[in-house]
């Protein structure tokens, strides 16, 4: 088990190098000149050239990449071209906000999504099933920014219950996390429903019933554990995505997270910042997947890692 974890962690290194390579060269193929953006509209060619030199952008691209890798070994992601602050500091300042939102949203999604999916699988084609499936469809189809704005209109503007944006207290977390959770709840509920329905029609479910077990035990003990693998997969993937920041939600609620950082950096052609955030995002995504794989083995005795 420990061996497996170490192996998986080591295997993240080539993955991260691959990400950084792609990222590095693709960024530089983008139209737009970071020096030009930084210098502003009125800058003279000399000024732009100076900035380009300061940023190291006048060197050949493979040399730039070598410098970048060299710093990366010391966990130094360079300085932001825009703010001159170290990239790691900027990320550290925003990452907790994103993680907080992601954790709250995914928790909400599990608390509502999994039971909803189970109920609708146990009572298929009844009013409650139709209620769950149609609200799930609604949740999946609804644009996030629209939902966010509507929640602001109702709970901040009309009722004055919750702040419309920013951070500071637990009250600030509620609206953005519900907005984020809406889609994930719907997704998890649909996944839970379909896997539970499949599991409930398996032979071993009939065996469990033939033993005289209560329906509640059949569903929670015998069926749910078998349905958990696909559910955990979906939860893991969604959590990984949420950790990458939710650009729209963070924008609507003026939430200082990673998502907005990435978008702002892209607009400013802030190469070090973009590289840094996306690498961190990649690393988090890999770690989440590793944890998901470890949970598989815990849930399903047939899965063992050597």
């Amino acid at each position: 088990m420990l061996n497996y974890v170490v192996k998986r962690l080591l295997s993240t290194i080539p993955v991260l190098i691959g990400i950084s390579l792609l990222l590095f060269f693709m960024l530089r193929m983008l139209p737009g000149d970071p020096a030009q953006v930084l210098a502003g509209q009125m800058a003279t060619p000399q000024e732009i050239e100076l900035i380009r030199h300061q940023l190291g952008l006048d060197k050949p691209i493979h040399i730039q990449y070598a410098y970048f890798l060299g710093r990366l070994i010391h966990f130094d992601l360079g300085r932001s071209a825009r703010t001159q602050n170290p990239v790691t500091e900027e990320i550290w300042a925003r990452l907790p906000n994103t993680v907080l939102l992601a954790v709250v949203a995914i928790t909400l999604a599990c608390i509502f999504g999994i039971p909803a999916g189970i109920i609708s699988a146990v009572r298929p084609y009844t009013w409650i099933d139709y209620l769950v499936t149609s609200s799930a469809l609604f949740g999946i189809s609804m644009p996030v920014f629209w939902l966010g704005l509507m929640l602001v209109v109702v709970f901040s503007v009309m009722l004055h219950w919750l702040p419309a944006g920013g951070t500071g207290s637990w009250k600030h977390v509620i609206l953005p996390s519900f907005t984020l959770a809406a889609f994930v709840v719907a997704f998890i509920a649909r996944m839970t429903r379909s896997t539970m329905m499949e599991v409930l029609s398996q032979d071993y479910t009939t065996t469990a019933r033939s033993k005289g077990l209560k329906e509640r035990v059949v569903v929670t003990k015998h069926a749910l554990r078998n349905a958990l693998i696909p559910i955990i997969t979906v939860v893991g993937l969604q959590f990984g995505l949420l950790l990458g920041g939710a650009v729209l939600t963070e924008t609507v609620f003026a939430w200082p997270g990673i998502g907005r950082l990435i978008v702002d950096s892209i607009l400013a052609r802030d190469y070090p910042m973009i590289q840094g955030t996306i690498l961190v995002f990649g690393l988090l995504y890999i770690l989440v997947n590793l944890v998901v794989d470890l949970i598989y083995a815990w849930v399903d005795p047939r899965i063992r890692y050597g």
Binding site: T206, T207, G212, L213
Partner: protein, 329 residues
């Protein structure tokens, strides 16, 4: 028939139908059968004739809807079809338990063998966790699983098909049921394992005094295990007889066909003569032929067969047959 006392289980006029998109499927259509105390009754027929649905109807293990079960299933003087959910739950796995065809899929892959046996024991016998676990180990020993103590802690995927079926039997017998519904218990197993499982079931039946309703399409299994045989065709009982008489002198043309299609070792295949087969296939349950359901495939078809359903005729000595050939007119 059984004159001295009440049978353990009596099914009267059982109808089980399924409401599906294409219409109503009558999977079991007016089945009567009895399982006397301490006996093994065989229920034979081709795939899709309603044997399994009959067994599942007894314990009401079909999802309703789409299924609908009507008639009477009398067990100890009570109609199981009238019981409420709690009532039938207390019978399942306790007084009546069931063994299924597919040992590979009938055990829950994420629970240990021991737990799957012990949970029923805790539920019905009110044993503590430790007692139930010990009992589960004891049951595994009784079905001759080597290393029972260690096996109890293992998950089903580590066991072979035969071992899993033994575990399934241990589970079914763990609460000392009066009636065991065995739905094709040996069909999915190798021949050598089949023989072991059958002798195991025979021994346990003697030891526990359990009655068995043995569902199979394998006449060899019936000959070895059952004392009475009921032959089903397309949702109906076509013949019932003590096992020896049935094999010696089958009455219904369908039974004759079934017995004739079993290869006999030692009887030399003559050149140009193949093993006997019943022509045609079981009719679709949605489009049942009028009259006797077997008539399109019957070598002795008469005019009346395609018009009216044949009556059930009681022959002497516990036999009955459902065929116009035996109707006295």
């Amino acid at each position: 028939m059984n004159t001295d006392n009440e049978p353990l289980l009596a099914i009267r006029n059982l109808h089980t139908c399924f409401h599906v998109f294409e219409g109503v499927v009558n999977a079991v259509d007016g089945v009567d059968l009895e399982v006397p105390h301490g006996e093994t009754v065989g229920l034979v027929g081709e795939s899709g004739c309603g044997k399994s649905v009959t067994a599942l109807s007894i314990l009401r293990l079909l999802r309703c809807p789409p299924a609908e079960i009507q008639g009477q299933v009398i067990f100890h003087g009570r109609n199981l079809l009238d019981l409420d959910r709690e009532g039938i739950r207390k019978i399942r796995g306790n007084a009546i338990s069931m063994i299924f065809q597919e040992p590979m899929t009938s055990l829950n892959p994420v629970l240990t063998i021991g737990e799957q046996i012990a949970e029923a024991v805790r539920l019905h016998q009110g044993m503590s966790r430790r007692e139930a676990w010990r009992w589960a180990e004891e049951m595994l020993r009784m079905v001759q699983i080597p290393g029972a103590r260690a096996r109890a802690r293992e998950y089903p995927h580590k066991l072979s098909g035969g071992m899993r079926q033994r575990a399934m039997i241990a589970m079914a017998l763990s609460c000392n049921p009066q009636l065991l519904l065995a739905d094709e218990p040996t069909t999915a197993l190798d021949v050598t394992i089949q023989a072991q499982i059958m002798s195991l079931m025979s021994n346990l039946k003697e030891e526990f005094g359990t009655s068995i309703l043995l569902i199979t399409h394998d006449l060899g299994v019936i000959a070895e295990m059952a004392s009475r045989v009921i032959v089903m065709y397309a949702g109906k009982v076509v013949e019932e007889a003590p096992v020896k008489e049935l094999f010696k002198e089958p009455l219904h043309p369908y039974t004759k066909g079934l017995l004739g299609s079993v290869p006999v070792i030692g009887r030399k295949a003559q050149t140009g003569r193949r093993l006997h087969e019943i022509p045609g296939t079981v009719p679709s349950l949605l489009e049942m032929p009028r009259g006797c359901r077997f008539h399109p495939r019957c070598p002795k078809m008469m005019d009346v067969c395609s018009g009216e359903e044949p009556p059930t005729i009681h022959m002497g000595g516990d036999r009955r047959v459902c065929c116009w050939l035996f109707a006295k007119t």
